[in-house]
């Protein structure tokens, strides 16, 4: 019995030492002297990730605007400390064309950010906080920790894919996610890991010269957004309780470590560079019928650039498609403003022509529709417009 007890005690100690060692090796951040090599299971995880990345890249949902992609990557590069640069991570940001609130990092340093979340961000300091948070998940090897902990069940993944169903093609990137992407973008990591990502991520943003006070503002803003618009998405950043935790966590950091710390906002530069993305994201919000979100975003664009003809036209489309009280008049006003801003932009001419058509103003309709075809001879809806013009000449 004594021998048995001693043997068990020795075994227990051995296990404890091994577990402790394993635990230590799994939490040492990338680039730190103790980080060591990737372990076998981490190697396997990275291989899985390469497959997931390929699937995402092939899903046809990547946002194709080199200026904006370069700009976002430049901010990510500013966050990289020398130790991260010397680590095996390849830090790169890719933008997914989707109006959903999502951003996640793969363990190899690749970060995916959706246009939906970028359109809600107000300045570079907020973007830096978000990227810093995601980058920390990669540098601090949170994914492998999550996988070594609770096994993620395929049921959870299936449930998630059901939840993304209403978003159809805009959720395509989401449905391309495998188990690693699922953990990174939906369920998130343990509360401790998330707080670590808040803390270390904010430290990176501050070291890059950005104002720390912007971090809670971003998550507060997102939280208000999903409350007001009753948006509840399956993603980590689209989930109300998780956002509330972020706000609290950042507020604690601000009251302590960064109480008197100021820094750069980069607001004007952010809004100017991201303008085409705001318009594009509003277009996708409009396509899935999120009229208020689209209107809010486009109003921001016209506030910044009052003669932005595309934004004015899309604001007209929001009103026309929403078709609520006073929307018809509102849409006509916006379409006319769009024409006044750029008479060569074809779409508002067609929109006004269609309004005239419904109102019975044949001459007005004919003029506008003809002008539309002159300005856009290759218009994909040319057949419809020609049909309406034929109908007008027969009436």
């Amino acid at each position: 019995m004594y021998l048995f007890f001693n043997a068990s005690k020795r075994t227990l100690w051995l296990w404890m030492v091994l577990l402790f060692a394993a635990g230590c090796s799994s939490v040492n951040p990338m680039g730190s002297p103790e980080a060591g090599q990737l372990e076998d299971d981490e190697h396997r995880l990275w291989k899985t990730v390469i497959e997931e990345e390929k699937r995402l890249d092939r899903s046809g949902t990547l946002y194709d605007n080199p200026t904006i992609t370069q700009y976002v990557n430049k901010i990510a590069q500013k966050l990289m400390t020398p130790s991260v640069r010397s680590s095996p991570l390849t830090v790169q940001v890719k933008i997914v064309k989707s109006p959903l609130l999502n951003a996640f990092a793969y363990p190899n340093g690749l970060i995916y950010v959706h246009t939906g979340i970028l359109a809600r961000i107000e300045n570079e300091a907020q973007l830096a906080a978000l990227l810093g948070h995601e980058l920390t998940h990669a540098t601090h090897r949170h994914t492998i920790q999550a996988f070594r902990g609770v096994q993620r069940s395929s049921t959870a993944l299936a449930t998630f894919q059901l939840l993304t169903l209403p978003f159809g093609v805009f959720g395509a990137a989401a449905t391309a996610l495998g188990s690693v992407g699922y953990v990174a973008s939906v369920s998130g990591y343990s509360r401790g890991n998330e707080r670590e990502a808040d803390r270390e991520g904010l430290a990176l943003a501050v070291a890059a010269g950005y104002a720390p006070a912007e971090a809670p503002k971003l998550f507060e803003h997102l939280k208000r957004d999903i409350e007001f618009h009753k948006v509840e998405e399956p993603f980590f950043f689209g989930s109300h309780p998780r956002l509330a935790e972020r706000v609290e966590s950042y507020k604690e950091l601000l009251e302590g470590l960064y109480a008197a710390k100021s820094g750069e906002l980069g607001e004007e530069r952010y809004r100017r560079t991201m303008l085409p993305l705001f318009v594009e994201n509003a277009r996708t919000d409009l396509a899935i019928g999120r009229f208020e979100l689209a209107e809010e975003s486009l109003s921001g664009v016209t506030h910044q650039q009052p003669d932005h003809s595309q934004a004015l036209y899309l604001l007209g489309e929001v009103a026309r498609q929403r078709n609520g009280e006073g929307d018809l008049e509102r849409s006509e006003d916006r379409f006319r403003q769009a024409v006044a801003a750029d008479a060569q932009y074809p779409d508002p001419h067609k929109a006004i022509g269609m309004l005239f058509l419904k109102r019975g103003d044949k001459q007005g309709a004919r003029n506008e529709l003809q002008q539309y075809l002159q300005l856009a001879p290759q218009a994909p809806d040319r057949a419809y417009v020609e049909q309406e013009l034929r109908n007008l000449s027969q009436r």
Binding site: G168, V169, Q321, M354, P380
Partner: protein, 201 residues
Amino acid sequence: MKLLLIAVLSTYMLTACVGRQAKWSMVGGTQVVENESIEVEWPEAWMKFTPAEADESAKKEGLILILTRDGIGLQAITLKRRALEQGLIYTTKKANSGMLPQELAEIVVDDLRANPNFIDFQVVGNSPTTLDGVPGYKLVVQFRNKAGLPKQAVYYGCLAKGSLYILIYEAPQRHYFPLDLPTFEAVKNSFKWKSQGGTSS
């Protein structure tokens, strides 16, 4: 005798409660669609599926019937009707009776684009048309289904009698789609709005 009468009455009542059952039947020739004032000339020797009256998912889809020759995975002609107040399935936008055909096509495209069963969805054709004189749209779309099979479909649609009527032909892109497209176009061209009468199918 009394027991037999009760049994017969119970069976009758049960059947009445259950309503129309889902059924497959052979079609061909000119027929009036059951419960609809539509007359169509169906291709000979195709099979028709009519959903059960209590089929909630068919009701949600507005499914009236599906026709196929070799199986619905290989070719399917589908007729749907959705009341305007019912809206569409995947988009929150709604059609209204004052919409022009192009506007109607626009929200139908939004609905199809938001359908998670359609992967890599693309509109390859969108043009005005008529269904027995009623102005509508013709959409030609391509997508992959969840199993990865490339498919192609043609959607004809119009607003009539307070509803959105949709006539669809869907088949695998390779081999099957071109094979039965002329048959489908003949069905579309035979489409007639009837006030009453005709042979019920």
